[in-house]
Symmetry: C2
Subunit: 313 residues, 2 copies
């Protein structure tokens, strides 16, 4: 249990050198000098009894041992940044920074108005929004709060279920005018479908199997969710979209709304051990309320969807 004081400063030096690739660059990044970094790396190598870098005039090349250690240094750095973030408002909950992560779609289409309202009522709190589909960044404390479309299965997380977000297929009005409106699943065969490229993670958890959806069946492929949405809005083809988002655009028309409909659960999560943080709590509750309204709007959009023959507009 007694840790023999291995100088955390050395870990920071190690990470900087790994990231920057040379002592000099690392020194610049840490606002130190090259000899200092050189000594710190030497000290670390002496302490663990292994060579971490092969020196060269081009910089320091990491050995396999260094590659093994990097993840831990990164984890420390993530925690250190989280510490700073939390400390920024430790004195006063009405000041500081909150870092949020969410999917690209949610980050771009759903959160901005919600965060604007929060910003307005809490001028002192700065907001960072990191669009990402990876879940790990919350666990690694890359973010304080996460909006996710799957249930967080981690017990270390404080998770709140927001609701079910309905998804449907849509197309732009003029696309349907040109190519015709599909009346059945079979009709889709001749249409341009917008889908994923290599990364099907967004489509997991959805029973798309019965629609025999595979990479090859897409006429337009992209792993960028926002790119897919832009393609849909540009009339490039038929694609999936959250009903609440599609409902805002009068030119987007539901396609096969009765045949193809599914939902994604929306969850809000933060670290359990940050429950006591007043600032985070504030942001968490505001997000929960705002997202709940969004989900409710989506359910309405679904309910009040236009007849399949055309939009109400």
């Amino acid at each position: 249990m007694v840790s023999e004081a291995p100088d955390w400063q050395l870990y920071r030096a190690f990470r900087a050198v790994m990231r920057e690739g040379s002592l000099s660059a690392a020194a610049r990044a840490l606002r130190l000098t090259q000899p200092t970094l050189g000594r710190q790396i030497a000290a670390l190598e002496r302490q663990i009894g292994a060579v971490l870098f092969t020196r060269s005039p081009q910089g320091l090349a990491p050995t396999p041992a260094a590659e093994t250690l990097l993840p831990h240094a990164e984890a420390m750095a993530a925690a250190a940044e989280a510490f700073q973030r939390a400390a920024s408002g430790a004195a006063d909950a009405s000041k500081g920074t909150v870092r949020i992560t969410a999917s690209e779609i949610v980050s771009a289409e759903v959160l901005p108005p919600i965060l604007a309202a929060f910003q307005d009522s809490h001028r002192g709190i700065a907001i960072e929004l990191a669009p990402s589909n990876r879940i790990e960044d919350l666990l690694r404390r890359d973010a304080d709060i996460a909006v996710r479309m799957t249930r967080p299965a981690q017990e270390a997380l404080l998770a709140r279920r927001i609701g079910a977000v309905p998804i449907g297929m849509y197309a732009r009005r003029d696309y349907l005018a040109r190519r015709g409106t599909p009346r059945s699943l079979a009709d889709l065969a001749g249409h341009a479908i917008i889908g994923f490229d290599r990364d099907d993670s967004s489509w997991r958890g959805i029973e798309v199997a019965r629609f025999r959806v595979s990479r090859e069946s897409f006429a337009f492929r992209s792993d960028g969710d926002l790119v897919q949405l832009a393609a849909l809005r540009a009339g490039l083809g038929i694609g999936g979209c959250q009903t609440a988002i599609a409902g805002r655009d009068p030119d987007l028309v539901p396609v096969l709304a009765d045949e193809i409909r599914f939902e994604l659960e929306m969850w809000l999560a933060m670290h359990e051990d940050q429950r006591a943080d007043a600032r985070l709590r504030l942001a968490f509750d505001h997000l929960a309320a705002g997202l709940a309204r969004y989900v409710a709007a989506g359910a309405e959009a679904r309910q009040a969807r236009p007849a399949r023959k055309g939009p109400v507009s």
Copy 2:
């Protein structure tokens, strides 16, 4: 992106003071001196612009702000320890330390022989075994490898399914001789059942609802899984047990084996970003093989279970 070098050393000092409760004690723990710790804490307070402790002759009492920051410091410490662990064998994969976490039962009843074999073939590798039912400790890098009885739902983890571990109800032979052998679920009413006290986490994921199992229905209650097992072996009553473990004890007799039977999935998990670590890989594969044999043995024990009227033995 440019972090303005907030001296990781201060975080270590902060954590030590939080844990030890005084500058002096923290100084002892870190092999530093009291004035040094005092200055470091002062520097940290100055940097974040908040008071972290209220000084007193009895020690330092943390303010709410300090409580808020502690989890982050703990996360850093966990990563630092993981760094040390990984570094211990960075030079040579045949040396170093591997830290494993598993449930109490698995730690005490299943792993020892498997780890003994590993120890025998890899003398240089020290093994730490942390019995715990919490899953978070792997995420926080409190351990390198985890054996869990639920599917790890985290994408940041490299998980391998070992197999299904059959569970059944058992009782000691002489208990049944005294109290009679239940022939139906209804018969259980008059029996002494061994179960949990306050923490029902071990029972989650099991459809016990139809057995109307609740805290009050237990005659012997304990949250210690090993205590429950000891009670079962002592003939205190009827309790659940992995078939492979019960099968070793000729005095333990299955109870209502046809009516009550369920399984738990056994999983092995480690961090994805430690995949490259040769030493961990070695331990991981050895554990996977050893546990697979254990699971296979359990399936056999289930299949070759004695008739309900009595044991084969």
